[in-house]
Subunit: 110 residues, 2 copies
Amino acid sequence: MENSGIARQLSTFRKTIDNIDAALIHMLAERFRCTDEVGLLKARYQLPAVDQAREQQQFQRLAVLAQEADLDSALVQRLMQFVIGEVVERHRQIAARHEPKPANNPNPRA
Amino acid sequence: MENSGIARQLSTFRKTIDNIDAALIHMLAERFRCTDEVGLLKARYQLPAVDQAREQQQFQRLAVLAQEADLDSALVQRLMQFVIGEVVERHRQIAARHEPKPANNPNPRA
């Protein structure tokens, strides 16, 4: 391939990567908006910041998704541990800012 | 809110989070497919695995995107450093597996 062809090819790939990054950032922003709502709910009703059963379920599901998408599942686990660690920290900050409200059902099932 | 209402609300948020995670994983898989093609191109034409000008441009763009999406830009930088570090490692592996081909333009412009 000529050098101009190599440069054009590289530029085309990079445009795709930039578009994917914009999508990733916006999906991630939406994920944090949603986990912040979870944090608020947990803070209001005094639910624990960490739910180990839920985390375990998430990681199992992510491993299946990674396999389907032909991605290294260890890499996905490391990335999501990073994201979930950030979520838990945000939940703790949200809890520190909000007064809890008691749930008003005398027979809790949640 | 009643406990059953809290549980339902939590479950609704978690369904959204799970859908976003599936989207993130698939976008990430597509990003690695694309960066692997870049790695192959670099290996074939003996371009360096790391392009610091490109990386700097990416991080500046990511900071703008993070701000637009109301995300902590330091968090985005850390996440993308992780992803780009993985990309560079994959480029090195791809380079180790492929024989280079010389570019055939005697007057390189790329």
